[in-house]
Each structure stands twice: as structure tokens, then as C-alpha cells.
Amino acid sequence: MPLTVGLRGYPEAVLAADAITLDLPGTSTASAIIQGLAAKSARLRHALLREDGTPRQSSKVLVDGTPIAHASVLPSSGTVTVLAALPCDG
């Protein structure tokens, strides 16, 4: 099922996009969102996932602006956003 995911921080910077559409199963977790986004770019994979392929705790999924646990199933409605960090003093 296509899901529009808003991007903040490093994902928005790397993809130069406000949002992206991911094709996901009907019932998806926050982890699946992060892993789907990570598959778009090697740099995102490095930033979003640990070496074992699981999401970093620093990779956040927000629903209507509130972070949800990685294991949480996405609610049927609400704005989904992925926010991830690669803090650096430029």
C-alpha cells in the first residue's frame, strides 16, 4: 500500500525532497518505514540503520509530530514523518 512519508533532517537533505512514497504492506511498523526509506540510498542506510540492518534509536518516526516506538504498528490515519540525525557543526 503506498504511504506518503514526510522527511526531516538528514533524509530530507540527502533526497532533497519534503516527502517520499513508500510501497509497504497494509500493516507496517515504524521499523518497516525506516528500513524502506533506508533502501533508497546508501547514505541513508548508513545514517538510519545499524550494521545489522535494524533501525538506530536515533532514527525517529513521528505520527502527527509525536515519536512512536520502532515496534509500533502505524495507526490507520495521521501524518507520518521520518526524522534522522547526523549532527554536525557545519
Partner: protein, 242 residues
């Protein structure tokens, strides 16, 4: 009300600050690790606000590619010590404060000497290990820490009050190392992060307002979006063990 042409008049007129907070700003001792993109506006605003003692620690030298965002410097400064040029620029802005310049890299061996006696540390540096070193120093000594960072068009700001709030490591427990090389960044992003960071320092030093604690403020300049992401202190955090 008579017009008063004094340096701090416009902020002393603010009910949140006033003359008493101004005295506290004059008594504050603040150390900044770095004088680069984020720290340029940050340090300008701290000097302008009247922070009594500013220590600037930066081992780096000014390069042409810095000048899209490092507004403390001009082309005349290229090749010169950032700490020393920042000291000169800030002292000319406000000769009533003390500005110290130290051209060294902060490491485990010298961190106590460089940061000792400072109430507030503006964290910075060019590596994750450096950030965690400063986070650990603040945990150990109780100094307050302000983190303000930016790259591309986004950034983060948070304050760490040891023993009272989540630390940098609670907020970012498993960050990757950066990619190395040149960091893409826009001066607007460093300006936003630096201004917000200066606000954190002034609030802490003056003892007013609410610092950004137990979470971080994230912004995306291209999107015009700000998000506060709450963070719980972690009982197993190696950075603070709250």
C-alpha cells in the same frame, strides 16, 4: 520614558531580563568549543548580550570556503587562527567583556584544563567522539552544556543540565560517524542553529525562561519546519547514567 543610549538598554527593557539578569550575564563564564559556522552567530549574540567571559577554543584556521557561513571572518582572516580572529572581532563588538582565545584541539588530556571554571559549555567539534567527550565532561563536573549543530539545511539544538535532564547521548544514543570530507551546509542553517543556541546560553546564564531540555529542537530551513522531539533520560545511558 527617557531614551537611554546604553549598550544593554533594549534587553534590560524586557521584563524577562531587566537590569538584574544583565548583571548575571556579566558574571557568566561561557566556553565555546569551536568558532565555525554555528558558533559564529552564536558567539556574536553572546558578546552583544554582555556575557562577561567568553573562552573560544578552536585549533582551526580560516579558509575561503568557510565564508559562506562563518560570519565572524572576512577574506583578510584567511590562513589565520579562528580563535584569535574571533577574539578580535568580538572584542571590537563589545570591549566591555573578556574574550579569551585558545588555539588548541580539545582532547581527553586537556579538557579539564580548558573547560575548568566555566559554568556553561557550548559543545562542538568535528567528530562524534569529541561530542561524547564533552558530554562526559559535563556529566562529571556539572557544567551545563548547549548543543547546536547544522548541516545541509537542517539542525538541532538541545541543552543538557547534568543530573536534571537527558544528555546528548540519551537523545542520540547510536549515531553513526559522519562521512568525512566537506560538509554540505547553508549559512541560513548555521544561523538558525547559532541563534537558537545563543538563546539557550542567555537563558541559562540569566536564569530565565525554559531551556530546551529532555528533548531536542529540530529544524528544516528549506521546509520552514520546527519539531520538538521529546527524549526520556535513559537509566542505562553511558553518557549520564541518570
Amino acid at each position: 520614558m527617557d531614551f537611554a543610549d546604553t549598550r544593554y538598554n533594549r534587553q534590560e527593557l524586557m521584563p524577562q531580563l531587566g537590569p538584574e539578569a544583565q548583571i548575571r550575564l556579566q558574571q557568566a563564564r561561557v566556553a565555546s568549543i569551536g568558532a565555525g559556522g554555528v558558533k559564529s552567530p552564536l558567539l556574536y549574540y553572546l558578546a552583544a548580550a554582555g556575557i562577561g567571559t567568553l573562552r573560544i577554543i578552536d585549533f582551526d584556521h580560516v579558509e575561503l570556503s568557510n565564508l559562506n557561513r562563518q560570519i565572524l571572518f572576512t577574506v583578510d582572516d584567511i590562513g589565520k587562527s579562528k580563535a584569535e580572529r574571533a577574539q578580535d572581532r568580538l572584542t571590537r563588538l563589545n570591549p566591555e567583556i573578556r574574550v579569551e582565545a585558545i588555539s588548541e584541539r580539545v582532547d581527553e588530556a586537556n579538557i579539564d584544563e580548558l573547560l575548568g571554571g566555566f559554568d556553561i559549555v557550548i559543545e562542538g567539534g568535528d567528530s562524534l567522539a569529541g561530542r561524547l567527550l564533552v558530554n562526559g565532561y559535563c556529566t562529571r563536573t556539572g557544567a551545563s552544556m548547549v548543543h547546536a549543530s547544522a548541516q545541509y539545511g537542517y539542525g538541532y539544538v538541545l541543552t543538557y543540565l547534568p543530573g536534571r535532564s537527558a544528555c546528548f547521548c540519551c537523545a542520540f544514543p547510536d549515531l553513526p560517524e559522519g562521512h568525512g570530507g566537506s560538509v554540505p551546509v547553508w549559512g541560513v542553517a548555521t544561523g538558525i542553529a547559532g541563534s537558537l543556541g545563543a538563546g539557550e546560553v542567555v537563558k541559562l546564564a540569566a536564569g530565565v525562561g525554559r531551556p530546551i531540555i529532555n528533548g531536542y529542537l529540530s529544524f528544516s530551513a528549506f521546509q520552514g519546519k520546527f519539531d520538538f522531539v521529546p527524549v526520556e533520560p535513559r537509566s542505562d545511558c553511558p553518557g549520564c547514567c541518570l
